[in-house]
Symmetry: C2
Subunit: 430 residues, 2 copies
Amino acid sequence: MDQVSVGLLGFGTVGSGVVHLLLQEQEQLGERAGCPIHLEKVLVRDKEKLRKIKLDDDRFTVDASDVLDNPNIDIVIEVMGGIEETRQHIHRALRNKKHVITANKDLMAVYGSELLEAASDNGCDLYYEASVAGGIPILRSLTDGLAADRIQKMMGIVNGTTNYILSKMNREPVTYEEVLKEAQALGFAEADPTSDVEGLDAARKMVILSHLAYSVPVNLEDVSIEGITEVAQKDILYSKKLGYAIKLIGIAELDNQMIDISVQPTLLPERHPLASVENEYNAVYVYGESVGETMFYGPGAGELPTAIAVVSDLISVVKNMYHGTCGDHIFLPRREKICKPDEAIKTQYFIRLHLKDEPGAFSKMTDLFKKQGVSLEKLIQEPLDDHQSAEVAIITHETNKKMFEETYHLLKDLDVIEDIKSYYRVEGMK
Amino acid sequence: MDQVSVGLLGFGTVGSGVVHLLLQEQEQLGERAGCPIHLEKVLVRDKEKLRKIKLDDDRFTVDASDVLDNPNIDIVIEVMGGIEETRQHIHRALRNKKHVITANKDLMAVYGSELLEAASDNGCDLYYEASVAGGIPILRSLTDGLAADRIQKMMGIVNGTTNYILSKMNREPVTYEEVLKEAQALGFAEADPTSDVEGLDAARKMVILSHLAYSVPVNLEDVSIEGITEVAQKDILYSKKLGYAIKLIGIAELDNQMIDISVQPTLLPERHPLASVENEYNAVYVYGESVGETMFYGPGAGELPTAIAVVSDLISVVKNMYHGTCGDHIFLPRREKICKPDEAIKTQYFIRLHLKDEPGAFSKMTDLFKKQGVSLEKLIQEPLDDHQSAEVAIITHETNKKMFEETYHLLKDLDVIEDIKSYYRVEGMK
């Protein structure tokens, strides 16, 4: 091959990073890929917009077909985001036998299987390393590095915004709302942070990871999702006292052929490898039957880290083209999906509640736990300022989700309990 | 391909793990590799030895040629260890057009370039993921996942034995000798622990990592090596007081085309991602120009984790065979080796010394640092039990290796200094 030509869909943050690398590192990339890589066209919305990277005018186009139907283009890099229009673009590129690299987690979480199948049918590559945990090569580690193992569990800090907020709340006595505002001012949180703080973004990434690690056709609807908007400074305080850190954790397990995927604020023991992942960093903890504990840590977003993931994919695709092996590396689900019922989901819980300060209140509460078969591992009780009630924070022993939720509702109705402030999942050390 | 046949050299710990996976996971491995994998022959020293995994008698051989010259065998897995004989075996296998997978860091650190070249000449694969950090797919992450980046620095906890010893010394007031004995009893340290505790094992792994990340033909002689045998409980104590943890760290940097590779006890800030890597775990911290900080964490040794790395390599080789791309994935050094001179190696230092308790002693010492241009960032002074001298622990600001060693010798000769107990490299947060 004399040269490989690339078309870019989108020229935002990640797109700029990709162009920067393609121009700046031209020689090194050519060397590593085995042939020169040429940037042919860039689809933009507005050709006149001022950009920090300068390109000749004729490299820009506002017409998608200049990329998607361009016979000179071998590989399409999609960094425009969005779902429906982008999905059509990628289908069109694949029909035209162009290989595709995408950084689009929203798209891959929803239409991943469909697009991978289309790529496979067309003998094309479809790579998407950048869609999960930006600069961390986690997808490759699952498909190649740990190829021989059976992954049993993955836990991910896969959303930088929420990890930034919780890290800050952990270090300083600030509220969720205060940190969110600051994060927005610093550019660590979007103007509309909903999909981050409500856990949806993390859920999308867990879907992509589960698809690869468990070979199961997972949908977003299979994920039980809870965000961080209700996490109070007091939850963090009591967690610390009990030896835990609260993180927004995506958990995906395969157990006895059944999968369970969830995203929620979770208490991790302070010594857990994920507990010290701070600020906007991401990490994916993978437990394999044979390999045991591994963890992959790095920047989860950002112009250049994400661009590195995209361009590393590009090098792989160019090598596949050279070897004539495009389309052979696509993982399509091989297993049927069976979701774990709530009574089989075993975990510990943290619960924080206000208990009336009256004789017998404490034993009424503990009797209820006992009757439900939920035993308590750790407990802290502290008086509240009103002197009429006490705050109690509890870590239960392992129980199942169904039983715990039943207990929660019974506790809520118990006359000696004024209010249940919060409850969260608790993970142990493996 | 109907089937791929494998021959095994060696049936020790890792070999048993590999055979366990090949038999136990036959179906899954066949599915992932694309065709069934058959274990044809196993070279052992003693056919009669009792083993926990049972194989038919005729699978064993004591004659290496039954594996190396066996026309039925496509892939040779070398897990026998050793250097000279093994090197000849691998050359012979490659000449016979057999692909090779090895877990042998000693061999790859010394003869890696030679063997990779032989593999390339014969159009064969030579994979060695298991040689560095057992269950962590770090070699693949460097060559594929971060392919587009320029790696600037790697820091590795790549020896489990020494990390176990230092972790224990960090938690409990025990001496090096006490922990070593315990580690030997528990099987975490060899009967002859020299190559681990003197840093040689870690140095070999840093050579292999540097070769891949920097594309430079590095030798073991290029690595400055210092082990942990002199680390005292007091060093750990003062490090803690100053906010650091002592770890045996392999450091490999590429700066301005010059490389610098070393292994030594190193102080890391407690918040550094490597500082919380405990016990026998390994981790490799990689700093890339674009991607920034990443870290790969997992078990560094052990039967099954190492076997997973070997068998994941096996899956890759079988795929390459199927695609006809064997020998195409070999990384040979492309850059000339220029080693960094000592005056260009910039770092901070920790030094612990005994100072006479007499008027002017302290300022005599600090004057010497000042005259040398080495400024001090942190200092602790505490009286010693003899009441005639004080113990001083210092963290310097960044200086260069040559200047620091000169200062060390001048301090040693200073009349107010009774003794210099230790000095170590100190790394900051990036």
